[in-house]
Symmetry: none
Subunit: 215 residues, 4 copies
DNA sequence: CATGAATGAGACTTCATTCAT
DNA sequence: GATGAATGAAGTCTCATTCAT
């Protein structure tokens, strides 16, 4: 499995560590959103967190640790809010609810999503792998939901199509966070409705042959 | 309109400028892909381009200029290769061909696409605006194609759905560049086929009501 | 008025700032004297001050700040040593004492004077204005002294002549600092005596008409 | 003696050298006045002179050569305009005329004077010596004039006082070029008149004892 | 545990000078 | 003789990280 990476801290008191890291993450997200990881200095992070640069380094070892903590914490929150979707008995209506739930989540955590996707490339290799793996786990939730619909015979898809569809709807969610500059005519509800409509039709349609369309 | 930003050069010979910038862009894309804009030094760019740091600065004024040139050149290439799609008489089969053409293009220019989307946020504000505007122009090509299909009555969509659908398929294309790490089971042709199928069904399906699905 | 420009420092301890800037100024004066502002590097300044380049930049923001601090500190010292001359009841004997005091001061601070006058032109505009203004305040001390002598009827001068005379004796002082290469036959006392003699005669003499002399 | 330093040129045609250097000096003076020697680039000098950087270096070897040529040419012009003052039979009235002539000259060549005095410190050692020596020759003109007046018994001065007085009036002239920012209430004629008056009185006065004044 | 002053590697950029054309 | 593209040493400044208090 993909074990959580431990970030070393010279402080012993675990609850203090948690508290300080919380402060640090909150400050860092705002800064990263605003100026990106590279243009944000450790001093600024410390200041935004409400303590000194010296204290910051009591709780991390490198600046990249901060980025890792930020990404990890975002994923954790997303995960915990998506977990209830990971149920036994999926169906189209569950899927639709899941999408609404997920897209709403993205709308609420827009800044965090943008930061995570813009900056995670700056993580050290192993941290990046850890984070990408977490993302796959999230995609897998949708894969399972879709597979259950296929098993239900509510939709017809090959396994590969299921994988693709899961990524597909996942990425459309990111689009809401990333392309707000181009989608400012849409409300989140409109976005959800249209995307859901596309998706359902895309899955349920009576197999128009691509060959036919190409002709 | 959105005029091309002129990057100052202290060299006068226009054809030399073009040649050197070509070298520079080629080197920079590779480096940016590998380490990102911020971790790439100007010296490395110069070296990769095959000339000295002093020469580099004969053709640009700041490091950000390199990024701008890179993004601009990528857009230009994409534009020129997409231009033939911007025709008078669109139809479903033209649309399908366009998608195939576009996704193939992304496959071929994967590195460039990743660099452009990962790093353009580091552009100075006005350069960023210029680049985002160019992107909208590309989305608009697909909007026109879709609108023509609507006019043809080949598909039924509201204008807003057209906008969304254009972004939608545009973003799915980016997905191919960005999520190769997760899609390594798919060939580009599979990707195109599945995406096209989703799309066509999504548009052509007999309007499954979302409300119905939600129930 | 002409408020002192605050030079930003990222260090908080005010007394430390003062101490470090003191070191820095001392080192810089020597270097500027020797090689001028432009030929002196920030690294050399840091080294001469006894700390690292990083530390230097904890106490200033730009190299020009160093020059400003140097000029400001010199003016401050000169001012404080000239202040006692700014008295209520001036007279010729006070004026003579003042000149001796001032020229002695210049002799003792020769290096500083030369640096200040050679390099202040490299200050940013507002800093230059501040410094020139400070110089005018010093000239004004002599103007007041002269005006009091005029009021006393010890000397006869028009207000414009007073202004000119103040600049005149001020500049003669600078001459001692700047033209030592040409005046190495003179001791400071000889210089003071001769200058004072010229000055007193220049003011007290029975108005030889220039027209007469020109004839 | 102080032989003129030859500046090497790879061009043979002497009259061309002279012409090009003329252009170069004219451009350089303006630039040095505006931004100082160090902040002026060789490219700028070439451009202001009306030819390319390559051509500039056909006529000099280093940037400092330009400064030397500038200073030398200024001195030459001043010299040639002051030469007629170097006569056999001096007198007070000749002296007064000489001062007027000299101060007028400074007024007309203000920019050149400022450049020369501000920047000559940046000359290489031997060039600086050459230039300082030229200055001494100019002071010597006034020394001779004064000595002749002493010989005439028009004025009474010790030889040392003569030296000092020559420097004195020389420096007052520089004051007109350098302190215009503080003397903008004065016209050149007022300046000349007041300075001349001070000077004549300073020399002619009936030896007020300094000791007496100090008491 | 908290602080913040000190450090120095390393980044970007400039510009005097050269030399092939 | 003239040109201007190429060079790279050297300069200013930043910032992640350490460590004494």
């Amino acid at each position: 499995m993909n074990k959580k990476r431990e970030i070393e801290s010279s402080v012993k008191d675990e609850s203090l560590i948690e508290k300080r890291r919380e402060q640090m993450i909150r400050g860092a997200v705002t800064l990263f959103k605003e100026k990106g990881f590279h243009r944000t200095t450790t001093r600024e992070i410390a200041k935004a967190a409400g303590f000194s640069i010296g204290t910051l380094y009591e709780y991390i070892r490198t600046k990249e640790d901060v980025l890792y903590l930020v990404c990890d914490s975002i994923y954790d929150e997303v995960h915990s809010r998506l977990d209830r979707l990971d149920i036994e008995k999926g169906s189209i209506s569950v899927l639709v609810a899941a999408i609404e739930h997920y897209y709403t989540l993205i709308d609420e955590m827009q800044d965090e999503f943008v930061v995570m996707y813009q900056e995670s490339k700056s993580l050290p290799k192993d941290a990046l792998n850890y984070v990408l793996n977490k993302e796959l786990q999230m995609v897998a939730i949708f894969e399972r939901l879709l597979t259950q619909c296929v098993d239900n015979e509510e939709i017809q898809m090959t396994p590969k199509e299921v994988v693709m569809a899961a990524h597909h709807l996942f990425v459309q969610g990111q689009m809401w966070a990333f392309r707000r500059w181009a989608l400012d005519d849409f409300t989140i509800q409109e976005f959800i409705d249209i995307q859901t409509k596309f998706l359902l039709q895309g899955m349920a349609g009576e197999n128009i042959s691509i060959q036919e369309a190409k002709s």
